[in-house]
Amino acid sequence: MFKSIFDQYEWNEVKAGIYAKTARDVEQALHNQRRSLEDFAALISPAAAPYLAEMAAMSQALTRQRFGNTMQLYIPMYLSNECQNICTYCGFSLDNKIRRKTLSPAEMLLETAAIKEMGFEHVLLVTGEANQLVSTDYFKKTLQLLRPHFANISMEVQPMDEQDYRELAELGLHAVLVYQETYHQDDYKKHHPKGRKSNFDYRLETPDRLGRAGIHKMGLGVLIGLEDWRTDSFFTALHLAYLEKKYWQTKYSISFPRLRPFSGGLTPKVVMNDRELVQLICAYRLFNQEVELSISTREEEKFRNNIVHLGITAMSAASKTNPGGYVVDQQSLEQFEISDDRSAAAIADMLKKQGFEPVWKDWDPAFSGEIKKVVG
């Protein structure tokens, strides 16, 4: 389990190590053919800032070789904003007095129709954590309902047990995204004072459970803004390196959500600027040529238009972060404000103009589990 590796590292030592990196360490990291975790630490350090142009050129070339001139498109579908956790940074937090909404099967199909109309085949299902109402059983029924409609279904919901994941995978669940939020244990407790999410270790070991359950893909990341992003990113890379060796049949993706404002929310402790986010994205690509790097509509139009060249391989578009946001209940409360509200067609057009083929479908339900594809 990752916990045994994680426990060998001490946050302050890791942080000091990153900030002690020198220009020479960065140059060595750039020079190496295969890059180590220490090289990654150098590339995300302040010492690497003057090398950003070089990193960007290398990141672009590595990404193009592996992924070609293509960009995977996906869209989130928020199913519920019920939540029993208190998270200081989230709009769905239990203590945030909002109208709660959980989609019924009929409502999901209405949302699905609207999403399909935009052209999407890859969908990411998102919920808060309400274990009674939005249970494993709810997800099973949801997958059975939605599987015939999408080529690829991912989930970003509460962490579950291995057996739950195994059963959901058999029903066609392709990928699970579970962000640690922060690897700083004390800060984690501060930001998650109540609810099942307050259990740091259970969340930390979720990727191990996913790996054992044989899920096709998992997504990792931290919420940038809670703690020092460089140190948190080092731990993410450590986690990734461990998982890739242990669960070698699983694909991995990394996201870089920057804390966004929401009604009544937290001001970020640490602000990461655009230049630093580019540095982080390029550092991940130089560290790992094969990992998927994903960017959401949290980021602004201009940034997204430019970042597609620098290592990103998947992006969401036309997202609504509230349950029913596409047609059913457009006024329900959103999890966070999105920054890029262009339509799916506008994003596809932007990609084409920049020399990318927008990829809507890169999976088939026939490849997931035993259930035959429902025709018609």
Binding site: G68, N69, E290, K361, F367
Partner: protein, 257 residues
């Protein structure tokens, strides 16, 4: 040049191509036409099988261009057999490029699952072209179960590293009674020419064309490279030697009185 015959079908181009990583379906179509390729592999997962007007398929609709659906994405023999059946139904061909790489990072083919699936698919009437590591014994085992060709890799997919498996490819080609198509790793026309000079029946190229600055021109360059290599092979390459051959003192005694 001699045509290549696989499962009774004649190919006048020995350059097989892929359809991934292009910047648009239009660029893909132009590049594939420039390559002269008559066998083009398509990832089943990228195709909207219910949709007759699928964007990619529309751009591959040329009389000399045959489709070779592939099973990329499957992890087991069972999944591969199922995917092949879907491909046969959707694309109306019983040709299948069998790809089982359970490792999504390096995309290394699984020899055990591949052999199992190949045997099953042959029984089901498929023309099976399996993507495998450059493993001479595995290639013979696949020939034994009835595959129409073998497709050993030159280097990891998309790596453009050339024929890193050169010595093993030589053995495979020497031993094989079925066509040997070098797949994966070919990064430049000279790599392709090298494979053809060795006696490979054909090569499959995708990344090097798709991500070139000018894919159409690169496709034409690969066409020329493949043709040059094949012509040289058919013409009979002279043996190369590091040094001049002098009369050897080792056998001088034979001439002694």
């Amino acid at each position: 040049m001699e045509p290549l015959i696989i499962a009774g079908r004649e190919f006048y181009s020995r350059l097989f191509t892929g359809t991934g990583k292009f910047s648009s379906p239009e660029v893909m179509e132009s590049a594939l036409l420039a390559s002269g390729s008559e066998l083009v592999t398509v990832a089943l997962k990228r195709v909207e099988m219910d949709n007759k007007a699928d964007d990619m398929l529309r751009h591959l609709s040329h009389s000399r261009m045959h489709l070779l659906p592939n099973t990329s994405g499957v992890r087991t023999a069972k999944e591969a057999v199922y995917a092949a059946q879907l491909a046969r139904e959707a694309l109306e061909t019983n040709w299948i490029k069998l790809e089982i790489h359970p490792d999504p990072r390096y995309l290394m083919p699984d020899p055990v699952e591949t052999l199992l699936a190949a045997e099953e698919l042959v029984k089901l009437g498929f023309v099976v072209l399996p993507y495998v590591h450059a493993d001479p014994v595995l290639c013979k085992r696949l020939e034994d179960v009835g595959t129409a060709a073998v497709m050993p890799l030159g280097a990891p997919i998309g790596s453009n590293k050339g024929l890193k498996t050169f010595d093993f490819l030589e053995i495979i080609i020497a031993q094989s009674n079925i066509p040997v198509i070098v797949d994966a790793g070919i990064g430049s026309p000279s790599h392709a020419a090298q494979a053809m000079e060795m006696g490979a029946s054909a090569v499959l190229v995708n990344t090097a064309i798709a991500v070139a600055r000018n894919p159409v021109q690169m496709a034409a360059a690969f066409k020329a490279g493949v043709e040059a290599g094949r012509m040289a092979y058919e013409a009979g390459l002279p043996v190369s030697s590091q040094h001049a051959v002098a009369s050897s003192p080792l056998i001088a005694f034979l001439d002694e009185a």
